[in-house]
């Protein structure tokens, strides 16, 4: 009896500190990963997963919690990347300073465009953010003096640590994942605060949230700024790792890939973001390995098709993301009267008859 009580107390404490435990476990995992997965290829893959994870964590805050769709997140990524690149390559700023300045500028731009853009909802918001991304892309291509146009901007300095540039992938890996952990901690704290609860209220109904005294537009704007700063820092990390930047960083395809990563991990799950990012990246790499064995085509085609089908399938069958969706499906298959067999049986009994209530939104 006493044993039971103790265990449940430990369990309760663990539950309340789940996020802290998770952070520690992830930090341990990240710290020890290079010991058994030390190939250069794996390391650079992990660096990219980390960089995009920072963006998707911000995107989850914006889409999953505040409920505001963004098809232009690559614009903030590109603003950070180009800001950092231009300040450090053209004006000889220290890369760290350039990174901070780029984040501040990007946050400022997000605050300025947020006010008009959040007057839009749903479809219109999607297209508005997409248009913003497209405008940034056009600027990246056309403003040749500073951005180098479509051929890109080479010769960007590396980040330095104690005066020496970080050259090895190993060091950069730890640096990037340090930022991921910080982003996770910030996002989890936001989500589990008064602010996060307000965001969820806004997601479910802006009118109801407003009637409870939540300043809807201020909360939405602040979330956008946070997610933009995350994307900007990730862009800076990207640019100083690649020491090159091209307008590809501002493309719609990147925005879509980021949304897909967030969707795979579960929009409303901060923890899902790094896993979704890793899942999509590994799918991409897996296809790159497998496809040449099967056909003579490049993997690019299959990659795009897989992205598209994956996005549609997740939205139709598992709108909460792969992890939550799989858990639900498993639970459903365990309980008898809601399992797939019972469902089929009920369908058969109904005999295809459809009952429609007047005024019900059919179709």
């Amino acid at each position: 009896m006493r044993m039971r009580v103790q265990i449940s107390a430990i369990y309760a404490r663990w539950r309340s500190n789940r996020n802290a435990v998770g952070i520690v476990l992830l930090a341990l995992f990240i710290g020890t990963l290079p010991l058994w997965l030390g190939t250069p290829y794996a390391l650079s893959t992990m660096i990219f997963i980390g960089i995009y994870s920072i963006v998707t964590i911000g995107l989850c805050l914006l889409m999953g919690f505040a409920g505001q769709i963004s098809l232009g997140q690559s614009a903030f990524f590109a603003l950070g990347a180009y800001g950092s690149a231009i300040l450090s390559a053209h004006f000889d700023w220290s890369p760290w300073l350039a990174m901070v300045a780029a984040a501040i500028i990007t946050g400022g731009i997000a605050a300025v465009i947020g006010a008009p853009i959040f007057r839009l909802r749903g479809h219109y918001l999607a297209m508005g953010t997409l248009a913003f991304g497209a405008i940034i892309h056009v600027i990246a291509v056309e403003w040749r003096t500073y951005t180098g146009g479509s051929s890109g901007l080479p010769g960007i300095p590396r980040l330095t640590l104690a005066g020496t540039p970080i050259r090895s992938d190993m060091s950069y890996y730890y640096l990037v994942w340090f930022f991921v952990l910080i982003a996770l901690i910030i996002a989890l704290n936001i989500v589990n605060s008064r602010f996060g609860r307000a965001l969820r209220a806004i997601r479910d109904s802006q009118e109801a949230a407003a009637s409870l005294g939540i300043d809807v537009s201020r909360y939405k704007l602040q979330t956008l700024v946070v997610s933009a700063i995350f994307a900007s820092v990730a862009g800076s990390l990207y640019t100083h790792y690649m020491i090159f930047i091209s307008p590809a960083a501002a493309e719609l395809d990147l925005s879509i890939r980021l949304v897909l990563m967030a969707a795979v991990g579960g929009m409303a799950s901060i923890w899902g973001a790094p896993f979704g990012t890793a899942g999509v990246m590994l799918l991409t790499l897996g296809l790159r390995e497998i496809v040449p064995l099967v056909t003579r085509h490049g993997s690019g085609e299959y990659q795009i098709i897989a992205y598209g089908i994956l996005l549609v399938a997740i939205m139709i069958f598992m709108p909460e993301g792969l992890i939550a969706g799989a858990r639900k499906a498993w639970e459903r298959s365990r309980s008898r009267d809601t399992g797939p067999v019972a469902w089929l049986w009920r369908r058969a009994q109904r005999g295809g008859q459809r009952i429609r209530v007047l005024g019900q939104r059919g179709q």
């Binding site: 749903g122 508005g128 405008i135 098709i305 598209g308 996005l311 549609v312 139709i316 709108p319």
Partner: protein, 293 residues
């Protein structure tokens, strides 16, 4: 600053109107689907690409031009219906954000299939009636541009007759006005949703085929054209067909003038800026009206 003659302006105006006619066709596709199903179909542009690509392929198989074009339009119409059946209908109760992502995913998948089947090579479709360009008031006008405007006009007339003067067309309109009442009156709303997807896909295919001789056909042409069509539709307020026609023409002319008088690179930027302004302007307008009432 170079000097422009009147003929230059006429030239830009006419080419703007002809490109605008393409946007009009695509915009009407957006509106048809939106009003019947409540979905903004981001895969609209991919139907344009499919129409042009299939026409190129069928011509390559030895079909004469007119049957090739007709078969292509018919095939894309079927693709539209199938798309609705597979992607939209299973998720019809999903929240709006999910529906947006579903159509986005469809667009990517179709573009990927286009890349798989046709590769990155640009294809050319011959002009409908090859020949020397016409001269109108000093402006040079290729014959294909006249075809574009003519075909767009014919499609508009057919569409008008269908929606205003046939029972089926009226049933589709009934669904867009009030779905529940339409069902009570015996309209199969699900069939009408399928039909609206078919019509709008077919219309986009026509747009793809008529513009193909002017530009080249590539697997990724759909994205840009689809977005321009959407901008035109939204400039017209998403519900009214005549307003969408005006929106498409204005957008075409605006683009043509920026490309002609400034540089062609910022042409797309101007289009998206227009979208941004129109979107935001719409909401300002709405909230102002609300305050007044």
């Amino acid at each position: 600053m170079p000097q422009y003659a009147l003929s230059d302006y006429i030239q830009l105006l006419v080419s703007g109107v002809s490109i605008g006619s393409i946007y009009v066709l695509i915009a009407l596709g957006f509106i048809t689907i939106y009003n019947v199903t409540g979905v903004i179909n981001l895969a609209q542009g991919e139907f344009v690409m499919l129409g042009a690509m299939l026409a190129v392929t069928l011509l390559g198989l030895g079909l004469p031009f007119i049957p090739a074009a007709l078969v292509s339009v018919a095939l894309v119409t079927c693709v539209g219906v199938i798309t609705h059946r597979l992607t939209i209908q299973p998720a019809r109760h999903a929240p709006e954000v999910s529906l947006i992502m579903i159509t986005l995913g469809t667009a990517i998948a179709v573009r990927g299939l286009g890349l798989l089947f046709w590769g990155t090579i640009p294809y050319a479709l011959p002009e409908f009636t090859p020949g020397a360009p016409l001269q109108i008031m000093g402006a040079v006008l290729s014959r294909q541009r006249i075809w574009i405007m003519g075909v767009a006009l014919v499609v508009l007339i057919i569409l008008y007759l269908f929606f205003e003067h046939t029972l089926l067309g009226k049933a589709v309109r009934a669904c867009s006005i009030n779905r529940g009442s339409a069902e009570v009156s015996g309209v199969d709303s699900s069939a009408m949703s399928h039909l609206s997807y078919g019509i709008s896909a077919g219309m986009s295919a026509v747009a793809g085929i008529v513009i193909a001789p002017l530009t080249l056909v590539t697997y990724d042409m759909g994205l840009g054209l689809g977005l321009k069509g959407f901008i035109a539709a939204i400039m017209g307020g998403m519900v009214s067909a005549p307003a969408a026609v005006a929106g498409g023409l204005v957008l075409g002319v605006l683009e043509s003038f920026t490309a002609g008088l400034l540089t062609s690179g910022i042409k797309d930027g101007v289009a998206f800026l227009a979208l941004f302004v129109v979107l935001v302007g719409r909401t300002m307008n709405l909230s102002m009206r609300r305050r007044r009432s």
